[in-house]
């Protein structure tokens, strides 16, 4: 079979791959996206849907803010609705330690020009009377928004396709070779055919499976898979506009415009990236509902109708791997978003597109270089116990938990 020749081959048709394809097409590059299953069919579509700025990690906030600028006009560019709504985001504190975090987040956010209001218990309960008095303080950030994550990757894929991108679904990347300064990607379709794609640049946007592709080029991404626990209720009359999020992530919820309440709660769960099937265990459902009722007693009158999760790729510093390969010219990583891919995706995509098209990017991506994993004595300061169940984290030496 003759090779398909393109400027850029993107491995992975999740939201990062589709956004990157769209950004590259806008810069006149020919692009093919290679997706094993369906576009946006894995973790892209299953997230909580929050475009959160408040409380983003300090090193991620500059990129997150650039992403937000893109999000705010994206529906015009895409020519379709992805249910973008700027309802704001409220962090809730249940104790003094939480309150201190809100204050620290607010200082940091304001330094980046964000509009954040701190509320004490009385003000919080007056503003949102459905909350229980277990809430001791809140911080309200007005610019944060939500989208319907299920619609995002397909919408970007369609937009990219209109600009000339080829979106290949149902194609597994069997192996990648290099020759004549090009990448030779050997695909395998479900019907047994084996198309070959030749490209000048290759983007690793393979999400929870991106470590396998990186390994083919002698690079290590210390990736592990985990899943969020998501629940949704039947539609109920509107009562809560902003995303409500206990600052330790133990419970968060938002009401969609049509009335359903989406509920999530960390720590994230162990999922099986091999079988690619993941479910929320019933005990987890009950624990999260108990936490919800503790802060929103009125929710006891309603019913949950569905749960879901997905397979997300994480690294222990909870930051993406974003930028050029450390071993292979022409290879770029855009993966390991550690649950932050939806919000940061559009800026990450522009960064990769600029690197490929211009050789440099204005996006603040220096902290996300893959070489950070080769530094010795790396220590982490984030509390991973809040983020992951104990059985999720891989046993590793040299990192302090």
């Amino acid at each position: 079979m003759s090779a398909i020749d393109v400027d850029v081959a993107i491995v992975g048709g999740g939201l990062i791959g589709c956004m990157t394809a769209f950004a590259l097409c806008k810069r006149g590059r020919s692009v093919v996206v290679l997706e094993r299953g369906r576009v946006g069919g894995e973790s892209s579509g299953v997230s909580f849907g929050s475009l959160r700025l408040q409380g983003q990690h300090a090193v991620e906030l500059p990129l997150a803010l650039r992403a937000h600028e893109i999000w705010e006009t994206i529906e015009e560019e895409l020519g379709e609705s992805i249910q973008f709504a700027r309802h704001g985001h409220v962090h809730l504190a249940l104790n003094d330690e939480h309150r201190a975090r809100l204050e620290s987040n607010a200082r940091h956010g304001r330094a980046h020009g964000m509009d954040i209001t701190l509320l004490d218990r009385e003000m919080t309960l007056r503003r949102w009377p459905f909350l229980s008095d277990k809430v001791v303080a809140a911080s309200w950030s007005t610019r944060d928004a939500v989208v319907n994550p299920r619609l995002v990757a397909p919408a970007f894929a369609r937009a990219a396709r209109r600009l000339g991108a080829t979106i290949h679904e149902g194609i597994e990347v069997a192996r990648v070779e290099q020759g004549g300064g090009r990448f030779i990607v050997h695909g395998r379709m479900r019907d047994g055919s084996e198309p070959v794609i030749s490209s000048a640049a290759l983007v690793n946007a393979a999400g929870a499976w991106s470590d396998t592709l990186a390994a083919q080029f002698g690079e290590t991404i210390p990736l592990f898979a985990a899943g969020p626990a998501e629940l949704v209720t039947e539609p109920i009359p509107p009562f809560a506009a902003p995303v409500m999020h206990v600052v330790d992530g133990s419970i968060l919820f938002r009401q969609t415009d049509r009335g359903n309440v989406i509920i999530a709660g960390h720590p994230r769960m162990k999922v099986d990236a091999e079988t690619r099937r993941a479910r929320v265990p019933p005990d987890k459902i009950l624990i999260n509902l108990a936490r919800l009722v503790a802060i929103v007693p009125r929710m006891r009158a309603h019913a949950v109708i569905r749960s879901w999760t997905g397979i997300e790729g994480y690294v222990e510093d909870m930051m993406p791997v974003l930028g050029p390969s450390s071993t292979t010219p022409g290879l770029y990583h855009a993966c390991a978003f550690s649950g932050h891919g939806l919000q940061m995706g559009p800026a990450a995509a522009v960064a990769i597109a600029e690197l490929i098209a211009d050789g440099a990017t204005t996006m603040p991506i220096a902290p996300f270089d893959i070489r950070r994993f080769y530094a010795t004595g790396q220590q982490r300061t984030l509390s991973l116990a809040e983020e992951f169940q104990a059985d999720v984290l891989p046993p590793r030496d040299g990192l302090v938990r």
């Binding site: 005990d283 006891r300 309603h302 749960s307």
Partner: protein, 455 residues
Amino acid sequence: MARVVVIGAGPAGIAAAEVLSRASVEVAVIDEAPRAGGQYHRAPAPGLALDMRRLLGTGYAAYETFHNDAASVCSRVDYRPGTLAWGVHGGAVHLASRGAAKALGYDALVLATGATDRIMPVPGWTLPGVFTLGGAQALLKDQGCLIGRRVVVCGSSPLLYLAAVQYLRAGGEIAAVIDTTRFADKLRALPDMLAAPRVLRDGLHHMAALKRRGVRIIHGATIDAFEGEERVGAVVCTPPNRMPLRIACDAVAYGHGLRPETQLAELAGCALRFDAAQRTHVPETDLDGRAGQGVYVAGDGGTIGGGQAAAVSGRLAAAAALSDLGATTNDVDLEAGRRMLQRLRRFQRGLATAFRWPGERAGQLDDAVILCRCENVTMGEVRAAIALEDGAAEVNRIKAATRCGMGRCQGRFCGPGLAEVAAISAQHPGSERDRLRVQAPIKPLPIALAEDVVP
């Protein structure tokens, strides 16, 4: 002692529990309903003076025997009525009852979850006054209520004739029975249906009884619409080679046979396969109901087979579970049971011909017709989503894009119609197809249940 959990107290569940209760295993029977019987042997609410002997006619003897057996079995096992099994995970069934959540571990799980109505949408099917056939029957047997004074019974199902006869016995008026399968197909199915002559005879009796009472029976008609403003006022149908007819009524009982409730089997890790004859996904089992993972499937929750087949398959599933647990039983004549089950299944194959699921209708319905009633998603919205996928639509993708199947029923009612629209768009209507994936809770779970859980 090994624990066997049976889900469902209809004919399959009670038959399984009966066999299990005589072996040295601990038996729990979980039933969502407050009283044993399932849909097939549904009993009236306590204190309701409903003359079941008159209502059920020749079916009363089986009903009475079942309830005597059920009372005896339930007194010997850990029987938990009014309990929803809403999830299966890690070798335990998760239960919700009387405002409390519990988990029950099992060594073997017998799923006798039964079936629910299968509906092909038509214009007006969500109007007040339109009931599923099973729903109309449940109201009658459980509450002694009729769905209306002048009822059209329509669709295609052996239940059409049974429900119509029962409505007449209960004092209702049947405006018409409209069967969407042609009479010629019924004749074609006769050889298979002769496998169960007694059931066939009962069915013919019902048809004859309706004719004697002057009830109009229309074969092979297309249901065009249920009409009405505030509620249904008429059924419009087109008999073969005739002009459309408008039949006035104040209620409609509508259905196209049954669809197995396979959600718990899927959550328990059983493989599902597309069954071309029933045109639905069913758990992959051997003839005794072994589905792997310590799970056994009995009754209509595995293969639509009716009450008699359900009881036989319940006994076989129980014997298989006991044998796999090393607690053999001599009470079940396996060979005779398997022969009988095969015979009854042949009869059911005949029924699938005699009462056709009109899958092709999904391709003819107007864009304005509602497909998903929970989320109010129309055929047009679903077709638009399929078009955006270049026609190669997968049902879970359509669900994500349109919300079809995302509501309270989780696709239990719109799923079959959605599968047909997707199959027609993919131009392989008869072949293997996708299905909506299942997640817990399989039915709405009251959040109040979690209040006692320590967060």
